[in-house]
């Protein structure tokens, strides 16, 4: 039998190769995809998140952990889909129009994916109508917006306003982030939540879709 306690160690050390081999071995032995994810992988990612918030690990380590998680999930996700298991939520994420800074957005996307979300990454410089299309076409129930510059922050509001105009605001939750973004700003523009870090974003996303 594959020793799945090694999965935690492999994830926490960002060892994508070992995560992949453990995943393949466990699946071959008949471990169910959902058990593998929910009992062995998501808890490890949550542990990484706690270590990150406690300044025991830092952004590079978190990126590597999220990458390792993603490597395992790439194998597992098609199996989960076959079994009819629904993701925790479907999130469309992107940097707003005019903003090309995606380091934080990519980290949040990876962490959300590791946290059980289906992530539709719309990339950078995303115009409001692309978010609207994702809601209609991909059954998205959460939108995550990032702006790194005060110059592009107004486009966060533009997306929320576009959702209202299209009559879609009630169908989705909106979470926002980025260096100059604050909780005050989130309140002002009517976002449902704000997080100042990637781990907090996962907890926030789970609360918003619960």
């Amino acid at each position: 039998m594959t020793d799945l306690s090694k999965m935690r160690d492999a994830l926490l050390s960002g060892d994508a190769n070992t995560v992949v081999s453990l995943t393949n071995a466990a699946l071959a032995e008949g471990v169910s995809p959902s058990e593998l994810v929910n009992k062995h992988m998501v808890p490890a990612l949550d542990e990484a998140g706690s270590k990150f918030e406690a300044n025991e690990i830092f952004v590079p380590e978190l990126l590597l952990i999220a990458r390792a998680m993603k490597a395992g999930l790439q194998i597992i996700r098609p199996l989960l889909a076959q079994s009819g298991a629904e993701p925790v939520g479907r999130v469309a994420i992107g940097t707003v129009k005019g903003d090309l800074h995606d380091i934080g957005k990519n980290l949040v996307a990876s962490m959300l994916e590791g946290g059980g979300f289906e992530v539709i990454d719309l990339g950078v410089d995303v115009a409001p109508d692309k978010f609207l299309a994702a809601i209609k076409e991909k059954r998205v129930n959460l939108i995550a917006l990032s702006a790194l510059l005060t110059t592009t922050m107004p486009f966060i509001k533009a997306v929320i306003d576009a959702l209202k105009e299209a009559g879609l605001r009630d169908q989705v939750k909106v979470m926002i982030g980025g260096a100059p973004v604050t909780q005050d700003f989130a309140n002002e523009v009517g976002a449902d939540g704000y997080s100042d870090n990637a781990n907090g974003a996962v907890g926030l996303a789970r609360r918003l879709v619960a």
């Binding site: 830092f58 952004v59 590079p60 990126l63 090309l100 110059t151 002002e188």
Partner: protein, 254 residues
């Protein structure tokens, strides 16, 4: 000792050194005497609280007996001026997102250019001669704390080659989505050497290059006035700067 009519109170300019040549040029021709304190470029990299603390210390150093108004050579700078408090002297602050507004002469002109050309990295004399090295701020900078300033070799030593390549792409190549250098000529350059450096930088990265004519008028109005409410916040004594999240960008808060 004769008393000269112009020897009254002075203006104090506290400015980011990114404006060094422009501020010196404007102050040289100023209507009133202006003393300048330049602070190091890169305060916006050390986080909002640390930045505003440095600015507040500079404001608090100003001798109120010698000056009647403080001029701030800063923009909103990613909220880095938020919380700055005027003590006994008023502070005049340009309504601008960042230094590029001051180089281009107006908020509207900057936004037009920005919206038409996302992914532009702007260069001026200040950015070319003072933009690279953060000096003592390096260790304090957010990019440093996040591991974003590590070289590829340092990443390999810490995380192994495969991980290093991934981290370098994901974390350290912060300009990977940029594609254009815009050289802003302000009229303070000694010769064509700065422009040549800017052109070379674009060629080295394979980016497009555009030369833009800067506009000293907003910087001159900061130094000389009039400080109209549309372009400047006049922060009264006892109040502090807050973001307004609208076109006015900043407001005074008691």
């Amino acid at each position: 000792m004769p008393v000269f009519p112009l020897a009254g109170k002075r203006l104090k300019l506290i400015s980011c050194e990114i404006f060094h040549r422009e501020m010196c040029a404007a102050v040289a021709q100023a209507a009133r005497p202006v003393d300048i304190e330049f602070l190091p470029k890169g305060l916006h990299d050390i986080g909002q609280q640390a930045m505003v603390q440095r600015l507040q210390e500079a404001v608090d150093r100003v001798n109120a007996d010698r000056y009647d108004t403080i001029l701030l050579g800063y923009a909103l700078c990613n909220n880095g001026i938020c919380g700055l408090t005027a003590r006994s002297l008023p502070i005049v602050i340009p309504r601008a997102h960042d230094c590029i507004t001051l180089f281009l002469g107006s908020h509207a002109r900057y936004l037009d250019y920005f919206n038409d050309h996302p992914g532009t990295y702007f260069l001026t004399t200040g950015w070319l001669e003072r933009g690279g090295d953060l000096g003592e701020l390096q260790q304090l900078s957010i990019p440093h704390q996040m591991g974003m300033d590590l070289s590829f070799d340092e990443l390999v030593a810490r995380y192994g080659e495969d991980n290093a390549r991934y981290l370098y792409d994901q974390l350290c190549d912060t300009l990977r989505n940029y594609g254009r250098y815009a050289w802003i000529e302000m009229g303070v350059e000694p010769d064509g050497s700065f422009e040549n450096h800017a052109r070379q930088a674009a060629a080295d990265r394979g980016w497009s290059f555009e030369k833009i004519h800067g506009d000293m008028s907003l910087i001159r109005r900061l130094i000389d006035g009039p400080w109209n409410e549309r372009e400047f916040l006049l922060l009264p004594p006892g109040q502090h700067v807050a973001p307004s999240h609208n076109d006015s960008l900043i407001r005074a808060e008691p």
